[in-house]
Every structure is written in structure tokens, then in C-alpha cells.
Assembly symmetry: C2
Homo-oligomer: 282 residues x 2
């Protein structure tokens, strides 16, 4: 049981954590923190949070658990102020899509003032954003990656694991660098590639979009995501994304050469390996 | 009202046409034609077709409407035999994913023996294949592209349009070459690109797939498609796919350079144009 949970940023993820913890009575008191009061009001009206404030220090004070749920570039800017305002017993985590930067920042702050921190990344994003689309069941069955380092106490990992599991999350652990490479591969690269796919169809002939069917719509759904959020993610994870992009280009060149070879058996074998890999994901 | 409808190939598309025409009593008699009797039996048992045969000439004889619903490379091989066996008053169409080849073949056959033909492409495919996944409502709301040429009588286009509209299809018309460029852009290129995406993640680290979330699954769903069907489609539409692939590579390079530029405003503007384009598709 959390006595006071402070959530900084009540968008899709922050709002969903508030709703989910409320639904399972995980926190006695929930405080919503944000830059503009208007964007906090709906959660207050819904009874999803008990208090709201635009003052970060006030919002964080006295909380057992502080969750940073702002966009990835904002997280790092806010962390020093959160660190300063947090109670000595506070547990701090975040929901950022990249982890190396925030974890490094937390470890630097931790040298001056030790505080329990571990990075979290609930893989429950959507191309839709904002409190209006937040849901109490967003984390139900979702993978949540925690990114402890050698210096993270096991107790911290255990407590944050219990927090996400109480909302239905399935927690898995990776070091921050591996996390960033993994999400570059299975999230950031796909985003960039389908962005280019949509741009390419427009370049070829925008009228072709008029006959796009379900396959194209499913494939490119993530291209309809918030431009600022994704500009920040692409920039934050530049290095791992660059590696993934290079590997993708090689894979595409290899497939193109294989198709040009006219070796039907080899083409079908390669497509069958891909089909099987994808089908196994369900 | 069709007196006799012959469907060659009772897979997802052929089976769905049989079920859909039956559902709206569009044909008095439906004949299913296939290579192996075992694969025709389920439709006969379901009462979805009235007769089945493995003899193409027998199956086509006396039909008012002949629908070729075999894989794209098989279509062209079967067309001469269909043409020879069809009644003089028969209307012939197909469901192939590429159209320049089949239309050219039909026009050549038509010089020796005039027959009413127009190519069809119902955009209702799926990564799942076979009669077992066929449905009476598959074409309900689906785009169906017809590909007449200068030599196609308007009456032929009208009759085939009515056929698809009776099943809920929304018919649109393109010349065969434009059709092949359009589907290269919105279907074949996306397939090839997500095939490369799945292959790239395996190359990077197959364990990364363990944290793949809904975004990745939606984006790559079409990679779990039949390898033979797609080997044939990629080969049949090689030229238009090559053009689309070149345009895609340019779009990806352009996005990568833009991200490297660090020009936040320009990056967000480009991502916003893409977001808007995709969001408008619904």
C-alpha cells in the first residue's frame, strides 16, 4: 500500500497509472503534477487523483512513490528538481521510452543524495496520446521493462516490480543499454520505417492512398503518432537507432538481391523463416 | 442473377466469393474448380458450392461468370484453358494482385476468340489463407479495383461492377499499369519492408522480439503471410516494386538526414505531415 503516489504528467501513461492504481486501491492518495492546471483538471474531476499542482516540489513532497510520466526529453530536465524535493524514503521511477540517459542522470544525482531509483518502461504506448485516452487496464498484460544497474538495490527493483504487477504488468529486467538497443529494434526503427513508407507513397502518388486496405493501415498505424514525442525519442536513442537502421538496410538489400536471383526455393525459404518468426509472436 | 458461376480456386478469396454470392442468392448454381478434390470437399459439404470438379474445362463449361481465384502466377497459366472452355456469352474475371500480365494475356487470347474479360482485384487479402478463413462478408466495404483497357466494352465493366457491388464491394477503376504501381506502393512495398524489419530484428538479437508490443505486432502482421503467394507477387510486380523501393529508400534517407540535422522545427513539421496523412486514412 502506497500512502502517497505522485505522478508527474497525466497523459496516456500517467493518467492510466492513476486510474489503474485507483482501481486496485494501491495508493491512499494520488497527486497529479503538471505544467498547466487545465490539463490536470479532468483527472481531478474524475476522482482519479486527489490533488493537483503545477508546483513540482509541492507535488513530490512527502510521496512514497514518485512516477515521472512526461515526454522523454522533459524527464531528464525535471529529474534534478524531483530528486531535490523527494522525501528521503521515496521510491522514484519513470516511464520513458529510452533509458540510458535518465538512468545515468539518476546515478549522478544519487552520488550527492542517495535515493531509491530504477527506470521503468511500460510497453503500452499508442499512437494516441493524452489523458482522454488513458485507461485503468492499459498495463494489463503489458510488458514493463525495468532497467536496474549494478548499483541498484534489489529491494528497489522488487518494490517497483510489485507496483507494475499490481496493475497487471509483466515485468522483465534489462540493463539500460540493452533496453535502448531492444526498443530501437522493436519500436523506434519500425516507427521510422513506416514514417518513410507513408512519405514514399505520397512521393509516388498520393492518390494511391485511396485504395489502401487493412494491411497498409495496420502496418502504418504508428505513423499517426505525436510528432514532438517521436522527434524526442528518435533524438534520445540516436545511437541505437542508427545501428538498427544499418541492420535494416542490410536486410532489405539482402531480400532485394534474393528476389532478383530468381531462386524460387531460396526466396520461399527466406520468406518462410520471416513468416514463422512473426507468426510465433501471436 | 447468374445462372452458373464457376470459381477456380476455393481459397480465402474464391471461398469468400462463393459464400457471399450464396448469401445474397446472386447465383443459381456455383461450381468449384480446383487441382485436388480434397481441398474442394469442405465447400461442397458446407453447401457453399453445388458441384466440384478437378477438370477445368468441365468446371468452366456453360458458366455465365467465370472467376479465376488461384495464386497470381497460376492465373496466367490457367487462362488459355479457361478461355477455350468458356461459353461464348461468358464473362471472365479474376482476383489477382497484379494486373498488367493477366490483362495482356487476356487481350492476346481475345484476338483469336473475343470474350468478355476485365481484371478485378478485391483488396480484401489477409495474411491468413485458405477456404477455412473465407467469409461471406469479406468484401463488405472492401475496395475492388477493376482494370479495363481502351478495348474493354463498358458493358463488361458494368456487369463485373454489379457483381462485386452485390457483395458489398466498393468498385474503383484503374488502368492495369496504374493498378500495379498503386499496389506496389500500398501493398507490395509495405510487405517487403516489414519482411526486412522482422529479418533485421532477428539479425540484431532475436531476444528483442520477446518485448515486442502491439505496435510492432500490428506493423509486422503482414510478414506472417504465405511465402509462395508472396514470392509470386514480388516477382510478378518486379518493375513497379523496384520503383516503389527506390522511392522508399530516398524517403528513409531524407528522414535520417533530417533527424541528424538537429533542426527540431523541421523534424516536427515532417513528422506532422506524415501523421496527418496516415490519420486521414482512418
Amino acid at each position: 500500500m502506497i500512502r502517497r503516489l505522485s505522478i508527474i504528467g497525466l497523459g496516456l501513461l500517467g493518467g492510466s497509472v492513476a486510474k489503474a492504481t485507483r482501481a486496485v486501491s494501491l495508493a491512499r492518495e494520488i497527486v497529479g503534477v503538471g505544467r498547466r492546471r487545465e490539463s490536470l483538471e479532468p483527472a481531478l474531476r474524475d476522482g482519479v487523483v486527489d490533488h493537483v499542482t503545477t508546483d513540482l516540489a509541492v507535488g513530490v513532497a512527502g510521496a512514497d512513490l514518485v512516477l515521472l510520466a512526461t515526454p522523454v526529453a522533459t524527464l531528464e530536465r525535471q529529474l534534478p528538481a524531483v530528486w531535490q524535493a523527494a522525501a528521503p524514503h521515496a521510491l522514484v521511477t519513470d516511464v520513458g521510452s529510452t533509458k540510458a540517459g535518465i538512468v545515468r542522470a539518476a546515478e549522478e544525482l544519487g552520488r550527492a543524495r542517495p535515493l531509491a531509483f530504477v527506470g521503468s518502461h511500460p510497453m503500452a504506448g499508442s499512437n494516441l496520446a493524452g489523458y482522454a485516452v488513458s485507461r485503468a487496464d492499459l498495463f494489463n498484460g503489458a510488458t514493463v521493462i525495468l532497467t536496474p544497474t549494478d548499483r541498484t538495490p534489489l529491494e528497489t527493483v522488487k518494490r517497483v516490480t510489485e507496483f507494475w504487477e499490481a496493475m497487471g504488468g509483466r515485468v522483465t529486467v534489462m540493463d539500460p543499454a540493452t533496453h535502448d538497443r531492444a526498443v530501437a529494434a522493436i519500436s523506434h526503427l519500425p516507427h521510422l520505417v513506416v514514417d518513410a513508407l507513408v512519405a514514399a507513397v505520397v512521393d509516388l502518388d498520393p492518390r494511391f492512398l485511396e485504395v489502401a486496405a487493412r494491411g497498409f493501415k495496420d502496418t502504418t498505424r504508428i505513423a499517426a503518432s505525436d510528432p514532438i514525442v517521436w522527434r524526442e525519442i528518435f533524438q534520445q536513442n540516436r545511437e541505437a537507432l542508427g545501428e538498427a537502421l544499418g541492420t535494416f538496410r542490410h536486410a532489405l538489400d539482402r531480400l532485394e538481391r534474393l528476389l532478383a536471383s530468381g531462386d524460387d526455393g531460396a526466396i520461399e525459404a527466406a520468406l518462410e523463416r520471416i513468416r514463422k518468426t512473426r507468426a510465433e509472436l501471436g
